[in-house]
């Protein structure tokens, strides 16, 4: 990301619809060939950002820079981008072939050169023999592949995808996810992918941009935003976590001790910039917590507490537990489904490592040190 100029840069983009601020101040860079996701709940402004890049929405302020060229004022049809819609937005009155050829015809590609290019695109999305069909004769997954082929046929400088998988059923979505990722790796097209599905964003992206209320909360590789969320919002939105408020009791080079409200002393990884007595939120992921039988040996983690299992459900890949700690606090726990389950109502032990404790201070401040 450091060497080449960014394929796309957004600089302080702003947009308000009437009194409602959709995008407050968004800046980000996408490297050439990068798969960048904009992730956030509905209404966070991610689609508006995408539409401003496409030129379909005019920003109130800021710049859209495409490979060094400011395109903020360039009309939509001269931006040479690709856009895939959640609704597919195929042309219902044209065949699949003509849909894919549409962008090439606008660029006045000669008939002789056009046909092989369209056919190559259709082969790429595995729709080779369906060129003569009309969109309504295709399944949802096929329609979205046509939309993908149509957007890629013109070799766009950046491909924008607006929740392209959200209208597909779960199984097809997983399949398309793999297909999209492979296509992206093969064509090395820069892709900006808007989604509200955190699993999708984590699985596909080189980097994830987490947005909330028109602002960027955090930008980073999937593992980083998942394991080291910068804000309580990011921690809450990606994955499921237990949140424990507390106050810092000690902060040393070997680690941090936090007194959770209710009395537990919890150890976390070392971190700079914390003052004794400072209020913090601790986030502990469901799957970071282990549930053990009472009296289990092994290396006891400094965070090992007696608990009672108050709920258990088996969900295939995982066991879901709710355990109650001595102070009455309940934690949600997910353990691998292959392990034998522990019965509800029994006493147990729960433990997690200090490194699994995510310390969150005031909104917006980032974890200063890495565990």
């Amino acid at each position: 990301m450091n060497g080449a100029a960014p394929a796309l840069s957004l600089r302080r983009l702003r947009k308000a619809f009437g009194a409602v601020t959709a995008v407050a101040d968004v800046s980000l860079d996408a490297a050439p060939g990068e798969f960048l996701s904009l992730l956030g709940p509905s209404g966070c402004g991610k689609s508006t950002v995408l539409r401003m890049v496409a030129g379909l929405v005019e920003p109130d302020g800021g710049q859209v820079v495409l490979a060094g060229e400011d395109i903020t004022r360039v009309p939509v049809h001269r931006r040479e981008l690709g856009l895939v819609f959640q609704s597919y937005a195929l042309f219902p009155h044209m065949t699949v072939f003509e849909n894919v050829a549409f962008g090439l015809r606008r660029r006045r590609v000669a008939e002789g050169a056009l046909r092989p290019r369209v056919e190559r695109m259709l082969d790429l999305v595995r729709l080779g023999p369906l060129g003569a069909r009309h969109p309504r004769e295709l399944s949802g997954g096929q329609q979205q592949r046509v939309a993908l082929a149509r957007a890629l046929a013109t070799e766009p400088r950046v491909l924008l995808l607006d929740e392209p998988l959200s209208n597909l059923d779960a199984l097809l979505r997983d399949e398309m996810r793999v297909e999209l990722k492979r296509l992206q790796e093969r064509l090395a097209t820069t892709m900006i992918f808007v989604t509200h599905d955190q699993a999708e964003a984590l699985a596909l992206s080189d980097r994830v941009v987490v947005m909330e209320a028109g602002r960027v909360e955090q930008i980073g590789p999937p593992e980083e935003v998942y394991r080291r969320p910068a804000t309580p919002f990011v921690a809450r939105f990606l994955g499921r976590a237990n949140f424990l408020p507390g106050a810092v009791a000690a902060s040393e080079a070997t680690g941090v001790v936090v007194h959770a409200d209710g009395g537990l002393a919890i150890r976390a990884g070392a971190r700079d910039g914390l003052a004794v007595g400072q209020r913090v939120q601790m986030a502990i992921r469901q799957e970071s917590i282990r549930v053990l039988k009472p009296g289990a040996g092994g290396d006891a983690s400094p965070n090992r507490f007696p608990a009672t299992i108050v709920f258990h459900a088996f969900a295939g890949q995982a066991h879901h537990y709710v355990v109650q700690l001595g102070d009455g606090r309940e934690l949600e726990v997910a353990t691998p489904g292959a392990e034998p389950p522990l019965a509800r109502g029994l006493p147990a032990l729960v433990e997690w490592t200090p490194e699994d404790v995510i310390l969150l201070t005031e909104r917006g401040s980032r974890p200063a040190a890495e565990p």
Binding site: H77, S87, A89, L90, F91, F102, G103, R106, R107
Partner: protein, 280 residues
């Protein structure tokens, strides 16, 4: 379909039978009887009412004029109505509902009142001619009434709301995403309109056109008032034949011809729509 489904259709089928099929059916025998002035309808069979209708230049001119009027009024409402409908279908203005009411408003006024309004405007010394003369654009009053121009202006105005209402629905059925997709793919606004919006709203254009055409060639009050007693179209001709000249057989033949034209047109456009649908 289940028997229950057909039951739901029964009232309207009955109405169609009593109100349309039976009267039109009764015209058929009437139209082939000879008519003798001062005597009335006589027994016997004759095809002369039809022959006269299809050979006499007087009648051919009226038929041609009626169809031409239908065609031109349809085109005029389409050309004026499409931009209005496009605006109303796409605007997010809070005035939208009021503007739609404004489009529909003429329908709330009595047809005769509206037509007399046009007489006042278009007459020899009406408002339009006074303005034209006052501006020096013409040296003598322009004849805008009791001719094709008068009927065209009046009927375009009267049938415009039907066209606009149908087109609004058709244009709203074109998802904005699809237009946006075309623009991102490199189509200018004009190309997007020509290649995407217009073809996708074609079903609405077709049904609006059929409706306005049929309404125009069967309208009676407006052509009678704006055309006067001498500038005839088929509907006024039929009216006169039945009620002035009491020549029911000739009137029946004319009415049947008009009905056949309308039915043929509806069937033809249905076939056109199916072909377009098969393509789309």
């Amino acid at each position: 379909m289940s028997r229950r489904g057909w039951g739901l259709l029964a009232p309207s089928l009955l109405l169609l039978l009593v109100g349309f099929v039976a009267p039109v059916g009764m015209l058929v025998p009437t139209s082939v009887h000879p008519y003798v002035p001062l005597v009335g309808i006589t027994r016997g069979f004759t095809a002369r009412h039809y022959l006269k209708l299809l050979t006499d230049l007087y009648y051919l001119e009226i038929i041609g004029r009626t169809l031409a009027l239908g065609l031109v009024v349809t085109l005029a409402t389409l050309l004026i109505g499409y931009p209005v409908a496009f605006f109303l279908a796409r605007t997010r203005s809070r005035w939208r509902n009021w503007l739609t009411i404004l489009v529909v408003f003429p329908l709330l006024l009595n047809l005769v009142v509206r037509t007399f309004g046009w007489i006042a405007l278009l007459a020899q010394n009406g408002l339009v001619n006074q303005v034209l003369l006052g501006l020096g654009l013409v040296s003598a009053p322009v004849k805008l009434i009791f001719n094709f121009a008068g009927l065209l202006i009046g009927m375009t105005h009267i049938f415009l709301p039907f066209m606009v209402l149908i087109l609004i629905g058709a244009i709203q059925n074109v998802p904005p995403d699809v237009e946006d997709a075309a623009r991102v793919l490199g189509a200018s606004w004009g190309t997007t309109f020509a290649r995407v919006t217009l073809p996708m709203s074609a079903p609405g254009i077709l049904s609006g056109s059929i409706l306005v055409f049929v309404l125009t060639i069967s309208a009676l009050v407006t052509p009678r008032l704006l055309g006067g007693p001498t500038y005839q179209v088929m509907s006024t001709l039929i009216y006169d034949e039945f009620l002035q000249r009491l020549n029911w057989p000739a009137g029946s033949a004319q009415a049947l011809l008009l009905t056949v034209i309308v039915l043929a047109l509806v069937l033809l456009s249905g076939a056109l729509a199916r072909r377009a649908g098969a393509r789309a």
